[in-house]
């Protein structure tokens, strides 16, 4: 090991500071979710007083939580599947040389630059035309391929040494097999990133489901938010509990997928 103890301490120190900054707001979310304090009181109370979990129970009963959860899971699963497959296909195509490639890239990039808020009305009319209002597919469709994730795949595919692909071709592997057996396995971090990001984006989508779902039975979890921004009651505690409950699955997906980010460790790349 070439790494000196001092440098290890410094690295831990830096990360601890970063993590502290990341966690302070979280601490407050969780603290408020287990108390019913007026968060505008001065001085703020640093430790929770008489903590309880009633807010979490309330959330479950205030909204049809189980049903919304199911809807969110279905919509996110569709979106994740779409991203993992369609983005890989598009990214693979973009690693090829073909006429008009630059234009396609430019088109993709410019598609990224249209803000969703400005597309609500036409997007609604198009979805209606497709007959997808109030359906899971309609909820997921706009998010089933995302440009950022295509570029992530593309970068990963391009990092696979050409010699490996050529060798596979010599062995008689077809295009499809090259992708499935060589490129994808070697791009696991990119697949993981696709899963994580596609999940988060579809999971947290708010305005789109709000516009295109009609029946409460089709609503996704974030739409439950409305129940906690009531006009008359103070629902701050329940609101924060709700935020934590919506966050949890995303964290879970991240923890599951982040296994793919430890290749450096196993292959000894950074052991020096």
């Amino acid at each position: 090991m070439r790494t000196k103890p001092l440098s290890i301490v410094l690295r831990h120190g830096a990360l601890v500071i970063v993590c502290f900054i990341m966690l302070v707001p979280f601490y407050w979310v969780i603290k408020t979710s287990i108390t019913n304090e007026n968060i505008y009181a001065y001085p703020p109370r640093l430790l929770p007083e008489a903590p309880h979990l009633f807010n979490y129970v309330d959330v479950w009963y205030f909204i049809p939580f189980a049903r919304y959860l199911l809807n969110s899971v279905i919509v996110s699963a569709i979106a994740v599947a779409g991203n993992v497959v369609f983005n890989a296909m598009a990214a693979y195509a973009l690693t090829k040389h073909f006429v008009g490639k630059q234009s396609v890239m430019l088109l993709f990039l410019s598609c990224m630059l249209v803000p969703f808020q400005a597309t609500i009305i036409p997007a609604y009319l198009i979805t209606a035309k497709l007959g997808l209002l109030n359906t899971y597919l309609g909820l997921a469709l706009p998010l089933m391929s995302t440009i950022v994730c295509i570029f992530i795949y593309k970068a990963a595919f391009e990092a696979v040494p050409q010699s490996l692909i050529d060798a596979a071709r010599v062995d008689g592997l077809k295009e499809r097999q090259v992708i499935l057996r060589i490129l994808m396995p070697l791009s696991k971090p990119a697949v993981a990133t696709n899963v994580i990001l596609a999940f988060i984006w579809s999971w947290n989508a708010f305005l789109w489901p709000l516009i295109i779902t009609r029946e409460p039975i089709m609503q996704t979890l974030p739409l439950g938010l409305a129940r906690f921004l009531s006009y008359l009651e103070d629902t701050t505690g329940a609101l924060y509990a709700f935020a934590v409950m919506v966050l949890a699955p995303s964290i879970f997906v991240f923890l599951m997928a982040q296994k793919e980010f430890i290749r450096g460790l196993t292959s000894g790349a950074t052991k020096g």
């Binding site: 007026n38 001065y42 036409p122 009319l125 979805t127 409305a226 006009y231 009651e233």
Partner: protein, 417 residues
Amino acid sequence: MMDRRKILKSGAVVAAAAALPMPAIAQSPKKITFLTWNIIDTADIINGWIARFTKDRPGVEVEWQDKKGPELPTFYQTQLAAGTPPDIINTQGALGLEYAGQGALLDITSRLKADAGYGNGFNQNYLGNWVYEGANYMVPFYLTKTVLFWNKTMFQKAGLSGPPQSFDDIIAYAEKMKSADSTGFLTLNFDWLYWPLYAMNGVDLLSTDLKTTAFNTPKAIEVTERLAKATESGAINKISWTGRWVEPNGAFAAGNVGMLHAHAPAYFYVKGQGKWVTPETLGATHVPGSFATPNSHGLGISKGSKNPDLAWDFLKFITNEAQIGEFARLRKLVTGNTAFDTKHFAELDKSDPFVAALLRTQLEHTDKMVGNWRLGNDSRVKEAFWPELQNVMLGRKDAKTALADADKKVQRELKRA
């Protein structure tokens, strides 16, 4: 030029062909949709109304949608564009007039006339808030206007015996109550809710015919300067000019703000958070001059409704005492249905006298409602005026320049319409 126009037209045709046809939601001949504004927490009551309404009307279906304030306009406009507007719509503040101005709402003047007993049952001043260019577009659902809440404990500590009687008093009292950790006065600011502060000084925003501005006067400048100075000194809480609902009410609930100028429902929010709130420690009264800005909820019918008669029936049904009474008793609010409100207040006198007194203020001095100009473009006028006022209150511009700038912008909006 011709060519360009042609291209543009064909572009429009393509976009329209791809995008504009009617969406697939089929409106069955007897189905109506009811869109409400952030009252999802009363689902049991509203589902009950729908069950009762449809019971005697075979084949009729009522779909209920509820959206929060910030998203309701987005949802409604999208539905309008798609040609499927909800039949009955509940809006807050001036939005109803705005939709009337846009041509989205059904003129219900003749229906109200034909059913005089129904129309006359409402407080006429409140009903008049939804008159646009001489026609009625909405009826009251539940009503609010601003009052002055005062923290009696803080008043006593500062040696003040009762609520302020003039604008001068408001400023002076606020100065007296301010300290390192407390401020004297706080007002809500959205939807012109602060306008009584100007009205009590004789300042109006627009001329009576609403054709031109009336606020760029020495008096208005003076009032603005005084408010800005008191804000600078900490007598007026800055949240007055930046917060919306949670922050100002939360701040007052924390117990270190002397006065809160807000519409009546703020009481329930404040009471929920402030352990100090009792009839002995909290007072509620009219501001000097008894001016108030309404921020009421109304019910209207979309002009695009396929079943306007059924929608009107439903609207009448839910504003009937048997239905609206349930809602009003649960949430302790004023309906504008005078007969019911009187009865309701008498009940509250026994169970919750403070709330009874508070709600009574909502039906007093209803001829002195301000900030409720019957404009079809209220939001644009607001957007032209309010940021300039904020500039003064937060110390970026002086009152004279800001009001002159606001004057230019508001004039432009008035001309555009």
